[in-house]
Symmetry: C2
């Protein structure tokens, strides 16, 4: 069902777009470092701020971008929000970068 003639994009193109979105959102030094920290263990925004020496708003913005792409998720605990990685490809990609 749903043969190639009925589609405007081939399956290969759709897959590549999806994969490229992940690489693109990981392709920024600060987001990459945030992910490298989160892959170790979930952390709250303030922890990331302190670990990277970045401003609060900036970290929140990058987390919003990662959230929008379905890479991380935040859960509220009192006033803090704990973030964790939800895309299983992220740890694999991070390891691949160390080859």
């Amino acid at each position: 069902m749903d043969g190639d003639l009925a589609r405007n994009k081939t399956e290969g193109a759709v897959v590549a777009e999806e994969q490229a979105r992940l690489l693109k959102v990981m392709g920024n030094p600060w987001r990459l470092r945030i992910l490298a920290l989160l892959v170790e263990e979930p952390r709250q925004v303030g922890d990331l701020e302190a670990a990277l020496g970045l401003g609060q708003a900036y970290v929140s913005q990058q987390l919003a971008r990662l959230r929008a792409e379905g890479v991380v998720e935040g859960e509220r605990n009192g006033r803090a929000v704990h973030y964790r990685i939800v895309d299983p490809r992220v740890p694999s990609v991070l390891k691949a970068l160390c080859r």
Copy 2:
């Protein structure tokens, strides 16, 4: 030698920038598909053009970008230029995306 006080960027930041550059250049659907083809075997520009249904100039541009980042290299053979992947992390990252 070259302690932290003498640097403007920490080592972690330098590494992250280098890794992010790779992910960024891979984070475009067409370049990703080009790399997926080249990882199978080296190919000339016209092959990529045909395989992806893209214009010649466009493919050359993307190859130039990949070359500029040290991801691929081209070698002339008569009038054709054969491209191959030279960054060893590329195959690993491509595999990681399939998790």
